[in-house]
């Protein structure tokens, strides 16, 4: 009996403690530092935050480390990143960009793919959440969806231009491995998407700065038509003219009389900017164009709160193509002696010459100064990046006119754009003739030897004069690769330490990233990669 008592006592001890521990079976994870989907009921005021990531990824994509800017500029004839005494060989990545010897492992186009699809997938996600009622929007639902689809079309345009044959994904809920589309299908998809959303897009440019609106969509359409021949084999010059005419007639945008103001650190809401990718040194970081281009010593010139890295610079042949009285030569490039902000001492003198991509001095080559560096700048600039601006619309129309035999009308548009560039030096030079635009380029194409001499490649470039105008106007605006391809220069010409690639025609689109080929067996690599 005694034993039984003890067992009872012991069991009671066990049971009472077990009861005390009942609460200790709750295994729900308490979430503190994340927002649980089930606890968040988004309302109207959350809409900006919900759609923001669609744009947010464009910031890193455009001016971030090895982003879109580098993809468009380093593969072309205006900007090069040569090895410096402090590095900048980086396993040959810049040499590959310059010589078009990139592989599916090349990071820059991979980065572009990832950022573009991040916008695409984010747009898909938000669209499906709105459609499923997870996000309740009482008013303006159609407009929000149209905007999202518009940005998605923009992201697909980047993929169309750079990778060509990519999967089209529009449904977030479908996670099956997507099939690849060819470039023409993608082209048609984007055109159709834009046409569909246009009626629902806002025409108020002021309240939609930095966002997809009616005018941005129209400019995007013009841009795609401008390159239609590259994308599909069929040119669409007439459509370029029609769309540009509508934008011009809209009267919403105009040329800024001061060229440099378009790129100023306070360029927000500039009259010329149609689609900006806004940056802010605090809230919207990521514009690091100055960090990559300036020598570390330039930090003293601007009293910078960061040490620049000292990498890319202008290709000397391009600098040589400028008219010396063209204001854009000085608005775009930092050159000559640079003085300490406080002492006035010369800290570095940037010279035009760049001996080779393999080895340079720290002061070789003019630096990108288009995006003006504000005093005490940090590692991240305030300047918004003008992805589309009004001058671009004028020049697109001019090119379409020029190519459809309307040289004089084209010349007057180009002259209009040139006016401010010569306003302070020699206004007469602003006017340009159709013959010049149709004629050969002033750019001395050819391979540059170590001693600076050029193995001249004097073959005539059709409409080379017009290509020059694009170069001067849009230098360091991530336009050049696309323009060179359209004018055939990308595939055929030598410049600096670049010679035409043996499979040059295949290099006009980038390879599908190796990681994506590995992850999605439905993808077929682009030719010759």
């Amino acid at each position: 009996m005694k034993i039984i008592n003890k067992i009872i006592l012991g069991s009671a001890f066990l049971v009472s403690i077990s009861f005390a521990l009942q609460s200790c079976l709750n295994l729900n994870e308490e979430v503190y530092s994340e927002v649980l989907a089930e606890n968040f009921r988004p309302g109207e005021r959350d809409i900006p935050a919900i759609i923001a990531p669609v744009y947010g990824s464009l910031r890193a994509l455009m001016m971030g480390w090895q982003g879109h800017f580098d993809v468009q500029e380093e593969s072309a004839d205006v900007i090069v990143t040569p090895a410096r005494p402090n590095g900048w060989y980086d396993g040959g990545t810049y040499v590959r960009m310059h010589q078009h010897t990139w592989t599916p492992l090349q990071w820059q186009p991979t980065n572009l793919w990832n950022s573009s699809y991040r916008s695409v997938t984010t747009a898909n996600r938000v669209i499906s959440q709105i459609e499923d009622g997870e996000i309740q929007i009482s008013e303006g639902r159609e407009e929000v969806i149209a905007e999202l689809k518009g940005v998605r079309a923009f992201a697909y345009y980047l993929l169309l231009d750079n990778h060509g044959n990519v999967p089209i994904v529009t449904d977030f809920r479908d996670v099956s491995l997507p099939e690849q589309s060819d470039r023409t299908t993608l082209y048609n998809f984007i055109i159709e998407e834009i046409e569909n959303v246009l009626p629902s897009l806002s025409q108020d440019a002021n309240s939609t700065y930095g966002q997809m609106n009616y005018w941005v969509a129209k400019t995007l359409l013009a841009k795609i038509y401008l390159n239609a021949e590259v994308y599909t084999g069929t040119p669409q010059w007439q459509k370029v003219i029609e769309v540009c005419d509508e934008i011009i007639a809209g009267g919403v945008y105009s040329l800024d009389p001061v060229y440099s103001d378009v790129f100023h650190w306070e360029n927000q809401n500039n009259q010329e900017i149609i689609f900006a990718i806004p940056y802010d040194e605090i809230f919207g970081q990521g514009n690091t164009v100055h960090m990559k281009t300036l020598d570390p010593l330039s930090r003293f010139v601007y009293g910078m709160q960061a040490g620049p890295w000292g990498g890319n610079c202008a290709v000397p042949q391009f600098i040589d193509s400028y008219d010396e009285e063209d204001g854009r030569l000085y608005d775009t490039w930092i050159q000559g002696p640079q003085r300490h902000a406080n002492t006035g001492e010369v800290v570095i003198t940037y010279r035009k010459e760049v001996p080779s991509i393999a080895a340079t001095a720290s002061n070789d080559g003019y630096r990108i100064g288009k995006y003006q560096i504000k005093p005490s700048a940090t590692g991240s600039l305030d300047n918004d990046f003008p992805f589309f601006r009004y001058a671009d619309v004028l020049m697109m129309k001019a090119e379409a006119l020029l190519r459809t035999g309307n040289g004089s009308e084209a010349a007057s548009l180009v002259s209009e754009v040139r006016t401010r560039a010569f306003a302070n030096s020699n206004p007469a030079k602003a006017t340009v003739s159709a013959a010049v635009l149709e004629g050969n380029s002033r750019y001395q194409y050819g391979y540059q030897n170590l001693d600076g001499s050029i193995d001249l490649d004097s073959g005539v470039i059709p409409f080379g004069g017009f290509l020059d105008e694009l170069g001067w106007e849009f230098a360091a605006e991530a336009h050049r690769r696309q323009d060179l391809i359209r004018f055939g220069v990308f595939q055929t010409k030598s410049w600096f330490n670049h010679r035409p690639h043996p499979q040059a025609q295949d290099k006009i689109i980038f390879p599908i990233p190796e990681t994506e080929i590995n992850n999605n067996p439905n993808l077929v690599q682009n030719p010759s990669y």
Partner: protein, 1005 residues
Amino acid sequence: MENFTKLKSIVAIGLMLTFHFGSSQTYASIMLDDSRSSDGVVEARAVSSMDKTISGTVYSTEDGLTMPGVSVVLKGTTRGTATDIDGSFTLEVPDNGGTLVFSFVGFETQEVAVANQSVFEIKLKPDITSMNEVVVVGYGTMRKGDVTSSIGGVKEEDFVKGAVRDAAQLIQGKVAGFRVTTPSGDPAAGTEINLRGLNSINGTNQPLILIDGIPGTMNTVAPEDIESIDVLKDGSAAAIYGTRATGGVVLITTRKNSEGRNTVNYNNYMSVQTIQRRPQLLTGDDYRRLIAEEGIAYTDYGGNTDWIGEMLQTPISHNHNLTFFGGNSTTNFTGSINYRDWDGIFKRTGQERLTVRADLNHSMFGDKLRANVQVINRVIKAARGGADGYAFRQAMIRNPTDRVRDEQGNWQERDGYFYENPISRIYEYSSESRNNEMRMSGSLSYNPIDDLDLKLLVSNVQNNNIFGGATTFSHTDTWLNNRNSSANRSTNAYNENLVELTGNYSKSIGKNYFTVLGGYSWQDAVYEAFEASNWNFPTDLYTWNNLGAGAALANGQAAMGSTKNKWQLAGFFGRFTYNFDDKYLLMASVRREGSSRFGANYQWGTFPAASVGWRISNEPFLKGVRNVDEIKVRAGYGVTGTIAGNPYLSQISYNFDRGQGAYVGGNWVQGFIPTRNFNPDLRWERKLEYNVGVDFSFFQDRISGAIDFYRRNVNDLLYNFPVPVPPYLTGNIMLNAGTMRNEGMEFLLNFTPIKKGDFVWNSNFTYSTNRNKLVNLSNEQFDVSREFFNAGGTGEPIQDYTHRVEVGGPIGQFFVWKSVGVNEDGLWLIENQEGEVIPITDAVPEDRQFYGNGIPKHIIGFNNSFTYKRFDLEVNMRGAFGHDILNFQRMFYENPKNIAYNMLNTAYDPVYGQRLNSDLAYVSHYIESGDYLKLDNVTFGYSFPGRGIMQNARIYASGLNLFVLTKYQGIDPEGVSILGFAPGNDERDKYPTTRTFTLGLNISF
């Protein structure tokens, strides 16, 4: 079989469940074949022609206390009895006497001739054969002879001596298959541990470390405060710990006052350290010679600075440990104070540590209720400068003709990419960190009836950290980034609770002995952290102590962050052991465990285990064989798990993120983004392990040891799977997607080659080998599959991955361009995929191949201790064979191409007959054999005889990491991380390993 309470206090083994030992006579190590172990037998027998009655008392030589329950048998008969609670016995014996056999578990059996004697005073000696040693197993202890799984244990007297960092280093090289290395020479760094290969990709590979049953780390208690360390290696042993046990379980038992002794023990040592091996760089004179003779365009600033020498110091460290034992058998106390102040070989590095422990035991109601309270408080402080791996890199690459300071006494800075004065970094940055850990635990054990023990264990651990760091106006950051003093402060707090309830019942019926364990365990933990930074201070005198004074906060540039998470783990467990006649052993256990880290459908899992053993040596056919003490074969199977390392992984949740924000509607807003690609079906990894082994002991234990073979399959590997973008949002999703296998062999041999008079030589040899294979990497639900993943990175400017783990292959393989020569242009010649030799400039990624593996195939430990009279000498060796190391130091610094940086003095030496003129590149030339044999620890000691109140004293001198036999050209072939998926990368930015010399003193009063 009653009244064992007193006996239990004799065989006291801490407060864990002690029933295994005391309760059965079947445990007597050697029983006569015809003996009956039950007490009733003799009394029941009809008394025949008994001529005389003898009586006596049995004592233990260990503590002099009486021993109840000792079997007393008249040899050659079935006649016998057992001692009562006072250790007394009476027995009728024939007139002509005979021989009495006294036997008891854990003690040597004694035979005494009766002759004419009628009163006996018997003293039983503890049986010291290895099979009777007590080993700590999950939730209890077991006699080693009864263990049916793979467990390694090391006792205090066999620990590694000298300046050890933590508990793991105490058993370095002593437990087969349990690899301990010290890849960093930083005095604040710990050890790296690996047991039976890599078993998880994203979960932890670390073992569960329990200090007296409560989870902790290898430095929770001071090494001097540890009595024994046991390692549960295989799944059948570890499965009782469920999801925390895949990396094995390490059970640390602290020193306890078991016998009511009253002593004070003081332990002190001092040590000095030197760098293990110094990299030989070009000197200033070398620069001038190369400029003059070869026209190499170095800049000569005229000086001759030994930058590494400027960075190093010869640190003196000291350690003090004071331990008190006091009380009696019902109430006793153990207290210890441990203080250590260690400095590192880099200037301004070091760490101070104070650990105070108090352990109080009390027993009541005739030992039916026992209570324990333990408090461990540890304070770790480190006040340091800016000497780190990056500063070491700067010392390696800095121009040796340059000077440390200019004429004005300012730091000499130069422009350059990642090129900073290392000495200025050391002196112009300061930090202070303080870690406080308070552990409180209490337990109550209650025996309502004999053989049943109920126990409640509760504990609370609070770990708090606070850190502050700041640069001065003279720091490079001011020169480079115009940031005038930059300071940050961070703090975090971790609070963990444990409640465990166990019931243990044991019983012997005839030759059957069984134990049943049942229990419940609850753990929860909360982690909270906060950090803030600021810069542009009006003065650098505030350091981190007036963070608001910086301008960056006002400008909106300063950063701030905080986070919090919590996890819970609940488990029910049970274990059954059965022993028949000391020959056949069975153990079966199961744990049902639930974790909050997984989605609702996958929170609970079951972890069963079973093992069997056969003590062949106790079979009749081996029974009488001389020189065979023990042969036991055993086999086991067990399932353990691994939990995802991070919180919230199975949640569908979002975050506001500034980086994904944008300018929308005329305002800057933060982006509302999903935190991850969602996978609410996440569950834990399951490891299924088979283990077979043999334990043996021969020649009166002169030779003993164990051999184990195992295979472990880890299923449902947690892997951050690369998924295509689109359709996924981001490029990775955490999935259960794969199977990994490890199989191997472990061998342990303890032997005593010489035992002659005053001279004893004891040896211990361990060997282990492991083979690893990634069996597959796929997930059907998400329809993803992968053939390989890449791991490791060279860092810039090479910017390449170093390893590839391929399905069907092992972890640790280097994946590299195989260099086979150098051409006349000084370019590497690479063997391409077709086997042709091409210059590196033509090589493509597809030309890479597998070349060597960073994980050793064979690991040995060879430990010897010699004692002669009062002298003792220990010589420990360790080795690892069959592996390769990527020597980053040579890859970056043994190449003359980039003259902006200094290099090794071998950089201009011809490679394949040519001077290199190739960019820095990752090629197989830099992958070297990492095989080594290390004379790791030599300790020489002398013990003084006790005198007056001094019971004993010992002085010793010790050297750690003394001598290495290796072809490896880097600093230390063992100073390389063995964990993760890029093992064998001897990184460029490092805190080099050291050689340590120690002088120590040990006194007891």
